[in-house]
């Protein structure tokens, strides 16, 4: 059985349904009387069950079935929502997620039966009123493969179920059939009816075709194979089959596919179609196909309509989205990169042109520039995904943590619609989850302590995301006890990370940064939520790996805020091109505050380091030529060109020789084998084909 082509759809849809269930059950817990929610839950559970059954995941189907029973009770008002029920429901959802994870990995649901959860679910059912509608629910789940015996079929219930008899048969098809018969093969006509409750009917049909291939050959089908694959058919389709096997065997193969309502099959003689069609007159035979065609068109038209109603029933809110292979996007992205490089080439070629014809040339370049910028933006947008897809699992997580830690807390999320590059989205989930766990476990005080301190009993964790220029900022804050700097220092000394003298010299900020050291945890007891000392350092390195940074601010007794800043995009950035002696470097524009002309005599020495006083702020000066291992040049110029860069609220001035200008650059990796100092974040290719390194200003501040 090859279901692989449906597996992906199954996984995606199951994820969606599980997310809906998680969300809605959370709402139901707060507001048990909301019938919309309960209906929504029921629908999602029902679809899930059907899909699992279709794909042959029996264990998953069984669990959803029992789960659905519980929802059905609640929906019918025979049972009220209690925290116990919600707990069991969440457990079941987790178990389902595990099945899904297994399926994703190995296309198999695994062998875990989750008896315990099923027993719990059944116990709930027993506790409630035994409802009468369970039996027919059961009927629906067990895949029925009833195949009516072929003999009993013809016109049994008034309508002729042998729809294949009405199919138009072309000349060459008749030839093929006659030839087959001459070769001792059998020709069968069949009409297959699929259960109307079937969700993936195309998959079913596919399995039927696959099955027939093992015993014979399909020479014609109505609707066409393509239409069937695209689910453009009602609940039946007709086939002509050539096979050397007896009719019972062929019928059995088809009937063995689950969710097949009925198989009507009988031997077919090529001439019979003509005789069965009302008029046996030969001239009219030509007309017959035309009639049939309009008929099949009519049925095609009604099919999508029916499907539409099905869809609306299944999912009231459909995300209108197209799934695009990330590789295709990457290709597109590379093309855009090439285009930009080509454009830059034109720009630099233009610089050497004579003034005469330059006018028109310039216009063309501006035009090209406009296109590339737009193209870049739209490709970027395609890659953008709202962070909602990452954060929507957090409310559930906080609820579980609240139970586990026995602390009352709530999560308030804002800005879920903020968009980030797909590559960032994929990576950011774990760090965020870790910070939330951290806030729940270490940040918030136990409920009793909160009452003593006169704080609201329920702790609040906020997750706030917003776009800030070329960055996206995500803040995770709690209104807990804040970080106790002395405790952090004491712990660091105990662990031998710093000496006591160092601890005394340390500013509060430096001490808080200790939290990001590997193997550091201040929690006095290690819980299974957090506090094993792996974590914040991983969070930090992950975020820095994405080109972002994370800072902590804390007020003792009032709470802690982790602020994560991430770049909006990774591949193409605006940069300032500078020259240091005869080498060219790029400095990303988003870290630049400004460019200053500083007189040489304004440079002061503090603790033997060069600083400048810039409008009241003293900032350190970095001589880039020294950083880049260049021989210092004897310049007799009276002023220095200083690029002021920032990292968080710290600033530094980078001394350069010449400004070239602002340019859109494509970040390229520097290749393997060669060691790249962390002050370079990559390289780019300039218009003339030369390579320039990109200076990561963050490492110099």
């Amino acid at each position: 059985m090859d279901l692989s082509q449906y597996l992906e759809i199954f996984i995606d849809e199951t994820k969606e349904h599980l997310q809906t269930l998680n969300d809605q059950v959370l709402i139901m817990e707060q507001d048990p009387d909301n019938t919309d929610t309960v209906n929504e839950i029921f629908r999602a559970a029902h679809s899930l069950k059907g899909m699992a059954g279709t794909m042959g995941f029996k264990r998953m189907q069984r669990l959803t079935h029992d789960l659905e029973n519980v929802f059905s009770e609640i929906r019918n008002g025979k049972m009220s929502v209690t925290p116990d029920i919600v707990d069991v429901v969440f457990k079941s959802l987790d178990a389902l997620e595990n099945y899904l994870a297994n399926i994703q990995e190995s296309a198999d649901e695994g062998t875990e039966d989750n008896e315990e959860i099923i027993n719990l679910l059944n116990a709930i059912m027993d506790g409630g009123v035994r409802q009468p509608d369970i039996p027919d629910e059961l009927d629906e789940t067990v895949p029925i493969a009833t195949a009516a015996p072929a003999e009993a079929v013809p016109a049994a219930d008034g309508v002729d179920k042998r729809k294949f008899l009405q199919l138009p048969v072309a000349e060459f098809e008749i030839n093929a059939m006659t030839e087959a018969v001459a070769n001792g093969m059998n020709v069968y006509g069949a009409t297959v009816y699929i259960q109307e409750s079937c969700i993936l009917k195309a998959a079913r049909a596919f399995l039927v075709f696959k099955g027939i291939e093992s015993v014979g050959e399909v020479i014609k089908s109505e609707p066409s194979v393509q239409d069937i694959e695209d689910e453009r058919f009602d609940f039946d389709f007709s086939l002509f089959i050539i096979s050397d096997k007896p009719i019972e065997q062929v019928q059995k193969v088809i009937a063995n596919v689950s969710e097949i309502e009925e198989v009507v099959i009988e031997p077919y003689t090529p001439g019979s179609a003509v005789t069965q069609v009302a008029t046996p007159v030969v001239e009219e035979k030509i007309e017959t196909p035309v009639v049939e065609e309009t008929k099949s068109e009519a049925s095609k038209e009604s099919a999508p309509e029916k499907k539409k109603t099905n869809d609306t029933k299944k999912k009231p809110v459909v995300n209108r989205s197209v799934r695009v292979d990330i590789e295709k996007l990457d290709d597109l992205m590379n093309l855009v990169s090439e285009l930009i490089i080509a454009k830059n080439g034109l720009v630099s070629a233009n610089a050497y042109e004579e003034h005469g014809q330059a006018q028109q040339f310039n216009e063309q370049i501006e035009y090209l520039e406009r296109i590339t910028t737009n193209l870049h933006e739209s490709v970027m947008k395609v890659r953008m995904v709202p962070i909602e897809s990452v954060v929507n699992r957090f409310p559930r997580m906080i609820r579980d943590l609240s139970k586990k830690l026995n602390k009352e807390m709530e999560l308030i999320m804002t800005g879920e619609e903020t968009e980030l590059d797909r590559t960032v989205i994929d990576e950011i989930g774990d760090p965020l989850m870790h910070m939330l766990r951290n806030a729940a476990d270490h940040g918030l005080e136990p409920t009793l302590d909160r009452i003593k301190k006169g704080k609201p009993q329920v702790g609040t964790i906020r997750l706030n995301a917003y776009q800030d220029g070329n960055n996206v900022t995500i803040e995770v804050s709690d209104d807990g006890g804040g970080v106790d700097v002395e405790k952090v220092k004491a712990s660091a000394i105990r662990k031998g990370a710093i000496s006591e003298e160092q601890a005394e010299m340390m500013s509060d900020k430096e001490a808080i940064d200790l939290l990001f050291q590997p193997a550091f945890s201040t929690a006095e007891k290690v819980s299974d939520v957090s506090g094993r000392g792996v974590g914040l350092d991983v969070v930090k390195s992950k975020i820095e790996g994405l080109g972002g940074d994370v800072v902590v601010s804390t007020v003792l007794g009032e709470g802690t805020t982790f602020t994560v800043r991430l770049p909006l995009t990774l591949a193409i950035i605006q940069a300032l091109m500078v020259e240091i002696q005869d080498e060219k470097y790029a400095i990303p524009l988003n870290s630049i505050v400004g460019i200053e002309d500083i007189m040489v005599d304004e440079v002061k020495l503090v603790q033997n380091k060069e600083v400048i006083n810039l409008r009241g702020t003293v900032i350190p000066l970095v001589r880039l030529d020294q950083m880049l291992d260049l021989e210092p040049s004897e310049s007799d110029s009276e002023s220095l060109v200083v690029v002021v860069v920032k990292k968080g609220d710290k600033q530094a001035g980078l001394v350069i020789d010449n400004l070239i200008g602002q340019q859109e650059i494509v970040i390229k990796p520097l290749g393997k084998y060669i060691y790249i100092h962390k002050m370079f974040s990559g390289a780019t290719i300039l218009g003339d084909g030369e390579v320039a390194l990109i200076i990561d200003a963050n490492t110099l501040v």
Partner: protein
Amino acid sequence: MAELENNDEIRQYIVAKLGCEQYGIDISYVDNIVRMQKVTRVPKTQPYFIGVINLRGEIIPVMSLRNKLDMDDSAVTNTTRIIIIKPETGALLGLLVDEVREVVTLSEEDVEKVSYDNGRDDANYYVTGVGKYKDTLISLINVNGIISD
């Protein structure tokens, strides 16, 4: 058995000159040979890397084979070439050599293996063997050896 097969094996090598010494690089690793072009220096990297170049939109690090083998720099001349090799790890690497001479075919019996067991110093490690071709000796470069550190 495997050894016997190896003995019959015939390999082709690209012969490059560093000063008056000849070095052979297994042709199956060679992707391309390009003329000297503008190389962008990469500060603070390993001393034997002279920098990176742009090869058809891809950035490729270039190593000076002279420096790697502890020889002094030589001036860039008309004959200086960058041999682009593609080791098994996939990513491209440029090797700067003074001159590329010819392609030679050596059978296993023309090659004397260098043994590492005693006195395994770096220079030997980068060379798998010495091939005899006509009246000259060619040191055969261990491509995976020179990229391993």
